[in-house]
Symmetry: C2
Subunit: 144 residues, 2 copies
Amino acid sequence: MISQTAEYALRAMVFLAMQKSPAVGHEIAAATKVPPGYLSKLMQQLVKSKLVNSQRGIGGGFVLAKAPVDISILDVVNAVDPIEKITSCPLDIMSHGLNLCPLHKRLSLATAQVEQAFAQSNLSELVEESRSPLCTSVPLESGG
Amino acid sequence: MISQTAEYALRAMVFLAMQKSPAVGHEIAAATKVPPGYLSKLMQQLVKSKLVNSQRGIGGGFVLAKAPVDISILDVVNAVDPIEKITSCPLDIMSHGLNLCPLHKRLSLATAQVEQAFAQSNLSELVEESRSPLCTSVPLESGG
DNA sequence: TGGCAAAAAGACCTTTATGTCCATAATAGC
DNA sequence: GCTATTATGGACATAAAGGTCTTTTTGCCA
Protein backbone atom coordinates (compact mmCIF):
# COMPACT_ATOMS: atom_id res chain seq x y z
CA MET A 1 0.00 0.00 0.00
CA ILE A 2 2.67 2.47 0.98
CA SER A 3 6.37 2.07 0.40
CA GLN A 4 8.85 0.95 2.97
CA THR A 5 10.29 4.42 2.81
CA ALA A 6 6.98 6.03 3.71
CA GLU A 7 6.46 3.56 6.50
CA TYR A 8 9.86 4.46 7.96
CA ALA A 9 9.18 8.16 7.73
CA LEU A 10 5.88 7.75 9.50
CA ARG A 11 7.46 5.82 12.33
CA ALA A 12 10.08 8.50 12.77
CA MET A 13 7.48 11.25 12.78
CA VAL A 14 5.34 9.47 15.35
CA PHE A 15 8.40 9.08 17.49
CA LEU A 16 9.25 12.76 17.17
CA ALA A 17 5.68 13.68 18.03
CA MET A 18 6.18 11.96 21.36
CA GLN A 19 9.38 13.84 22.16
CA LYS A 20 9.83 17.08 24.02
CA SER A 21 13.48 17.73 23.22
CA PRO A 22 15.43 17.14 20.02
CA ALA A 23 16.14 13.52 19.17
CA VAL A 24 19.31 12.57 17.37
CA GLY A 25 19.37 10.32 14.37
CA HIS A 26 20.66 7.14 15.91
CA GLU A 27 18.15 7.49 18.71
CA ILE A 28 15.24 7.71 16.30
CA ALA A 29 16.65 4.85 14.28
CA ALA A 30 16.96 2.61 17.31
CA ALA A 31 13.48 3.38 18.59
CA THR A 32 11.77 2.89 15.26
CA LYS A 33 13.94 0.03 13.99
CA VAL A 34 14.82 1.89 10.83
CA PRO A 35 18.30 1.38 9.34
CA PRO A 36 20.27 4.36 10.69
CA GLY A 37 21.94 5.35 7.46
CA TYR A 38 18.73 5.20 5.57
CA LEU A 39 16.85 7.09 8.22
CA SER A 40 19.32 9.91 7.89
CA LYS A 41 18.32 10.27 4.26
CA LEU A 42 14.68 10.32 5.14
CA MET A 43 15.21 12.93 7.80
CA GLN A 44 16.86 15.15 5.25
CA GLN A 45 13.79 14.90 3.07
CA LEU A 46 11.53 15.68 5.99
CA VAL A 47 13.63 18.71 6.79
CA LYS A 48 13.49 19.89 3.20
CA SER A 49 9.72 19.47 3.28
CA LYS A 50 9.60 21.70 6.38
CA LEU A 51 8.03 19.06 8.53
CA VAL A 52 11.08 18.76 10.73
CA ASN A 53 13.74 21.14 11.94
CA SER A 54 17.29 20.02 12.39
CA GLN A 55 20.11 21.28 14.51
CA ARG A 56 23.70 20.18 14.32
CA GLY A 57 26.18 19.80 17.12
CA ILE A 58 25.88 18.94 20.77
CA GLY A 59 22.32 19.16 22.03
CA GLY A 60 21.11 19.13 18.46
CA GLY A 61 19.01 16.65 16.57
CA PHE A 62 15.55 16.70 15.03
CA VAL A 63 12.29 18.23 16.21
CA LEU A 64 8.92 18.61 14.53
CA ALA A 65 8.60 21.92 12.74
CA LYS A 66 4.92 22.21 13.64
CA ALA A 67 2.49 20.95 16.22
CA PRO A 68 1.63 17.28 15.73
CA VAL A 69 -1.98 18.25 15.12
CA ASP A 70 -0.87 20.19 12.08
CA ILE A 71 0.96 17.31 10.43
CA SER A 72 -1.06 14.72 8.56
CA ILE A 73 -0.08 11.26 7.48
CA LEU A 74 -0.40 12.54 3.95
CA ASP A 75 2.11 15.30 4.63
CA VAL A 76 4.65 12.74 5.72
CA VAL A 77 4.01 10.33 2.89
CA ASN A 78 4.17 13.05 0.30
CA ALA A 79 7.43 14.33 1.74
CA VAL A 80 9.31 11.12 1.10
CA ASP A 81 7.32 9.22 -1.50
CA PRO A 82 4.58 11.26 -3.15
CA ILE A 83 1.36 9.53 -4.04
CA GLU A 84 0.96 9.94 -7.74
CA LYS A 85 -2.47 10.69 -9.03
CA ILE A 86 -3.81 9.52 -12.34
CA THR A 87 -5.11 12.53 -14.16
CA SER A 88 -5.33 11.04 -17.61
CA CYS A 89 -5.07 7.62 -19.11
CA PRO A 90 -1.50 6.44 -19.23
CA LEU A 91 -1.96 5.60 -22.88
CA ASP A 92 -3.70 7.18 -25.75
CA ILE A 93 -5.28 3.89 -26.59
CA MET A 94 -8.68 5.47 -26.32
CA SER A 95 -8.19 6.48 -29.89
CA HIS A 96 -7.57 2.85 -30.76
CA GLY A 97 -11.03 1.86 -29.73
CA LEU A 98 -9.98 0.29 -26.48
CA ASN A 99 -11.63 2.02 -23.57
CA LEU A 100 -9.64 1.83 -20.41
CA CYS A 101 -10.99 4.95 -18.84
CA PRO A 102 -13.53 3.33 -16.58
CA LEU A 103 -10.65 1.34 -15.21
CA HIS A 104 -8.49 4.33 -14.51
CA LYS A 105 -11.40 6.22 -13.13
CA ARG A 106 -11.69 3.55 -10.47
CA LEU A 107 -8.02 3.51 -9.77
CA SER A 108 -8.10 7.25 -9.40
CA LEU A 109 -10.99 7.05 -7.05
CA ALA A 110 -9.24 4.50 -4.88
CA THR A 111 -6.18 6.70 -4.76
CA ALA A 112 -8.29 9.70 -3.83
CA GLN A 113 -9.90 7.77 -1.00
CA VAL A 114 -6.55 6.84 0.40
CA GLU A 115 -5.33 10.38 0.12
CA GLN A 116 -8.38 11.62 1.91
CA ALA A 117 -7.96 9.11 4.71
CA PHE A 118 -4.32 10.05 5.06
CA ALA A 119 -5.10 13.74 4.98
CA GLN A 120 -7.58 13.37 7.81
CA SER A 121 -5.23 11.73 10.27
CA ASN A 122 -2.70 13.83 12.11
CA LEU A 123 0.22 12.90 14.29
CA SER A 124 -1.53 14.13 17.37
CA GLU A 125 -4.24 11.52 16.97
CA LEU A 126 -1.69 8.81 16.55
CA VAL A 127 0.03 9.74 19.77
CA GLU A 128 -3.18 10.32 21.71
CA GLU A 129 -4.56 6.92 20.92
CA SER A 130 -1.39 5.25 21.98
CA ARG A 131 -2.54 4.50 25.49
CA SER A 132 -4.06 1.12 24.88
CA PRO A 133 -2.10 -1.83 23.49
CA LEU A 134 -4.01 -2.22 20.26
CA CYS A 135 -1.13 -3.60 18.40
CA THR A 136 -1.02 -7.28 18.98
CA SER A 137 -4.43 -8.68 18.28
CA VAL A 138 -6.97 -6.21 17.00
CA PRO A 139 -7.93 -7.38 13.49
CA LEU A 140 -8.99 -3.92 12.32
CA GLU A 141 -12.53 -2.81 11.76
CA SER A 142 -12.80 -2.82 8.00
CA GLY A 143 -16.44 -1.98 7.65
CA GLY A 144 -17.96 1.40 8.39
CA MET B 1 -1.09 3.01 -5.69
CA ILE B 2 -0.92 -0.19 -7.66
CA SER B 3 2.18 -1.58 -9.30
CA GLN B 4 2.99 -1.30 -12.95
CA THR B 5 2.50 -5.04 -13.12
CA ALA B 6 -1.04 -4.84 -11.78
CA GLU B 7 -1.83 -2.01 -14.14
CA TYR B 8 -0.66 -4.10 -17.09
CA ALA B 9 -2.68 -7.10 -15.98
CA LEU B 10 -5.80 -4.98 -15.65
CA ARG B 11 -5.37 -3.57 -19.13
CA ALA B 12 -5.00 -7.04 -20.55
CA MET B 13 -8.06 -8.29 -18.73
CA VAL B 14 -10.17 -5.38 -19.90
CA PHE B 15 -9.05 -6.09 -23.41
CA LEU B 16 -9.95 -9.76 -23.10
CA ALA B 17 -13.32 -8.82 -21.67
CA MET B 18 -14.03 -7.05 -24.94
CA GLN B 19 -13.09 -10.02 -27.10
CA LYS B 20 -15.25 -12.80 -28.42
CA SER B 21 -12.57 -15.15 -29.69
CA PRO B 22 -9.17 -15.98 -28.24
CA ALA B 23 -6.57 -13.23 -28.47
CA VAL B 24 -2.92 -14.07 -28.88
CA GLY B 25 -0.20 -12.56 -26.76
CA HIS B 26 1.27 -10.11 -29.21
CA GLU B 27 -2.20 -8.89 -30.05
CA ILE B 28 -2.99 -8.13 -26.43
CA ALA B 29 0.41 -6.55 -25.97
CA ALA B 30 -0.05 -4.27 -28.94
CA ALA B 31 -3.53 -3.20 -27.95
CA THR B 32 -2.68 -2.48 -24.35
CA LYS B 33 0.83 -1.13 -24.92
CA VAL B 34 2.36 -3.64 -22.56
CA PRO B 35 5.86 -4.95 -23.34
CA PRO B 36 5.16 -8.25 -25.13
CA GLY B 37 7.67 -10.36 -23.27
CA TYR B 38 6.53 -9.08 -19.95
CA LEU B 39 2.90 -9.51 -20.81
CA SER B 40 3.55 -13.14 -21.52
CA LYS B 41 4.66 -13.60 -17.95
CA LEU B 42 1.63 -11.86 -16.62
CA MET B 43 -0.65 -13.98 -18.74
CA GLN B 44 0.92 -17.08 -17.25
CA GLN B 45 0.09 -15.82 -13.79
CA LEU B 46 -3.45 -15.03 -14.80
CA VAL B 47 -3.81 -18.53 -16.19
CA LYS B 48 -2.45 -20.05 -13.00
CA SER B 49 -4.93 -17.98 -11.04
CA LYS B 50 -7.74 -19.42 -13.17
CA LEU B 51 -8.85 -16.06 -14.44
CA VAL B 52 -7.79 -16.83 -17.98
CA ASN B 53 -7.69 -19.94 -20.11
CA SER B 54 -4.93 -20.49 -22.62
CA GLN B 55 -4.76 -22.54 -25.75
CA ARG B 56 -1.62 -23.27 -27.73
CA GLY B 57 -1.27 -23.60 -31.43
CA ILE B 58 -3.13 -22.20 -34.37
CA GLY B 59 -6.38 -20.57 -33.42
CA GLY B 60 -5.21 -20.49 -29.83
CA GLY B 61 -4.55 -17.61 -27.49
CA PHE B 62 -6.12 -16.37 -24.29
CA VAL B 63 -9.75 -16.08 -23.21
CA LEU B 64 -11.34 -15.17 -19.92
CA ALA B 65 -12.06 -18.20 -17.79
CA LYS B 66 -15.27 -16.68 -16.42
CA ALA B 67 -17.83 -14.09 -17.37
CA PRO B 68 -16.51 -10.54 -17.01
CA VAL B 69 -19.14 -9.86 -14.37
CA ASP B 70 -17.54 -12.53 -12.22
CA ILE B 71 -14.05 -11.05 -12.30
CA SER B 72 -13.26 -8.15 -10.02
CA ILE B 73 -10.41 -5.71 -10.18
CA LEU B 74 -9.26 -7.22 -6.92
CA ASP B 75 -9.12 -10.67 -8.50
CA VAL B 76 -6.80 -9.39 -11.16
CA VAL B 77 -4.59 -7.40 -8.83
CA ASN B 78 -4.26 -10.27 -6.42
CA ALA B 79 -3.36 -12.63 -9.22
CA VAL B 80 -0.25 -10.76 -10.20
CA ASP B 81 0.64 -8.56 -7.25
CA PRO B 82 -1.26 -9.39 -4.08
CA ILE B 83 -2.22 -6.54 -1.80
CA GLU B 84 -0.59 -7.27 1.51
CA LYS B 85 -2.61 -6.59 4.60
CA ILE B 86 -1.16 -5.44 7.86
CA THR B 87 -2.41 -7.78 10.54
CA SER B 88 0.04 -6.87 13.24
CA CYS B 89 2.61 -4.20 13.81
CA PRO B 90 5.71 -4.77 11.73
CA LEU B 91 7.79 -4.37 14.87
CA ASP B 92 7.45 -5.38 18.42
CA ILE B 93 8.31 -1.92 19.49
CA MET B 94 5.04 -1.67 21.33
CA SER B 95 6.88 -3.27 24.19
CA HIS B 96 9.45 -0.52 24.03
CA GLY B 97 6.95 2.11 24.95
CA LEU B 98 6.62 3.46 21.45
CA ASN B 99 3.07 3.12 20.26
CA LEU B 100 2.76 2.79 16.54
CA CYS B 101 -0.43 0.89 16.48
CA PRO B 102 -2.76 3.79 15.82
CA LEU B 103 -0.64 4.44 12.78
CA HIS B 104 -0.88 0.93 11.46
CA LYS B 105 -4.52 0.79 12.25
CA ARG B 106 -5.00 3.66 9.84
CA LEU B 107 -2.81 2.14 7.21
CA SER B 108 -4.75 -1.08 7.50
CA LEU B 109 -8.00 0.76 7.17
CA ALA B 110 -6.84 2.53 4.04
CA THR B 111 -5.78 -0.78 2.55
CA ALA B 112 -9.11 -2.32 3.43
CA GLN B 113 -10.94 0.52 1.73
CA VAL B 114 -8.97 0.03 -1.43
CA GLU B 115 -9.58 -3.68 -1.35
CA GLN B 116 -13.27 -3.12 -0.93
CA ALA B 117 -13.39 -0.69 -3.82
CA PHE B 118 -11.47 -3.10 -6.01
CA ALA B 119 -13.65 -6.01 -4.98
CA GLN B 120 -16.78 -4.13 -5.97
CA SER B 121 -15.78 -3.40 -9.53
CA ASN B 122 -15.96 -6.09 -12.14
CA LEU B 123 -14.72 -6.26 -15.68
CA SER B 124 -18.21 -6.09 -17.05
CA GLU B 125 -18.71 -2.63 -15.60
CA LEU B 126 -15.46 -1.46 -17.07
CA VAL B 127 -16.46 -2.56 -20.52
CA GLU B 128 -20.02 -1.33 -20.26
CA GLU B 129 -19.00 2.19 -19.31
CA SER B 130 -16.61 2.40 -22.18
CA ARG B 131 -18.98 4.14 -24.52
CA SER B 132 -18.16 7.71 -23.71
CA PRO B 133 -14.73 9.25 -24.07
CA LEU B 134 -14.12 9.94 -20.43
CA CYS B 135 -10.46 9.54 -20.64
CA THR B 136 -8.97 12.82 -21.60
CA SER B 137 -10.36 15.50 -19.35
CA VAL B 138 -12.52 14.24 -16.54
CA PRO B 139 -10.74 15.15 -13.31
CA LEU B 140 -12.37 12.35 -11.29
CA GLU B 141 -15.04 12.81 -8.68
CA SER B 142 -13.15 12.41 -5.45
CA GLY B 143 -15.88 13.23 -3.02
CA GLY B 144 -18.77 10.97 -2.15
C1' DT C 1 3.38 -37.69 -39.33
C1' DG C 2 5.49 -33.26 -40.26
C1' DG C 3 5.38 -28.56 -39.76
C1' DC C 4 3.76 -24.42 -37.98
C1' DA C 5 1.74 -21.37 -34.54
C1' DA C 6 1.17 -20.43 -30.24
C1' DA C 7 1.90 -20.56 -24.99
C1' DA C 8 5.29 -21.96 -21.23
C1' DA C 9 9.53 -21.75 -19.11
C1' DG C 10 13.58 -19.86 -17.80
C1' DA C 11 18.01 -17.32 -18.33
C1' DC C 12 19.47 -12.89 -18.46
C1' DC C 13 19.56 -7.73 -18.40
C1' DT C 14 18.03 -2.94 -16.78
C1' DT C 15 16.06 0.17 -13.71
C1' DT C 16 14.42 1.57 -9.37
C1' DA C 17 14.10 1.10 -4.44
C1' DT C 18 16.39 0.23 -0.48
C1' DG C 19 20.39 0.26 2.35
C1' DT C 20 25.58 1.23 3.72
C1' DC C 21 29.50 3.95 4.24
C1' DC C 22 32.53 7.78 4.58
C1' DA C 23 33.97 12.42 4.14
C1' DT C 24 32.40 17.11 5.10
C1' DA C 25 30.15 20.99 7.37
C1' DA C 26 28.03 23.11 11.26
C1' DT C 27 27.39 23.81 16.22
C1' DA C 28 28.26 23.86 21.16
C1' DG C 29 31.31 23.61 25.01
C1' DC C 30 35.76 24.09 26.63
C1' DG D 1 40.97 27.81 18.30
C1' DC D 2 40.21 22.77 19.46
C1' DT D 3 37.39 18.89 20.03
C1' DA D 4 33.32 16.28 20.42
C1' DT D 5 28.91 15.84 18.48
C1' DT D 6 25.66 16.20 15.23
C1' DA D 7 23.40 16.64 10.53
C1' DT D 8 24.48 16.80 5.39
C1' DG D 9 25.88 15.05 1.07
C1' DG D 10 27.43 11.93 -2.08
C1' DA D 11 29.42 7.57 -3.58
C1' DC D 12 28.74 2.99 -3.44
C1' DA D 13 26.34 -1.75 -2.65
C1' DT D 14 22.41 -4.81 -2.55
C1' DA D 15 17.68 -6.22 -3.44
C1' DA D 16 13.53 -6.13 -5.87
C1' DA D 17 10.75 -4.83 -9.75
C1' DG D 18 10.35 -4.48 -14.43
C1' DG D 19 11.64 -5.98 -19.00
C1' DT D 20 14.05 -8.79 -22.94
C1' DC D 21 15.36 -12.80 -25.19
C1' DT D 22 15.81 -17.66 -26.42
C1' DT D 23 14.46 -22.30 -26.02
C1' DT D 24 11.07 -25.77 -25.04
C1' DT D 25 6.55 -27.67 -25.06
C1' DT D 26 2.00 -28.23 -26.80
C1' DG D 27 -1.72 -28.42 -29.93
C1' DC D 28 -3.73 -27.92 -34.51
C1' DC D 29 -4.20 -29.15 -39.13
C1' DA D 30 -2.83 -30.36 -43.66
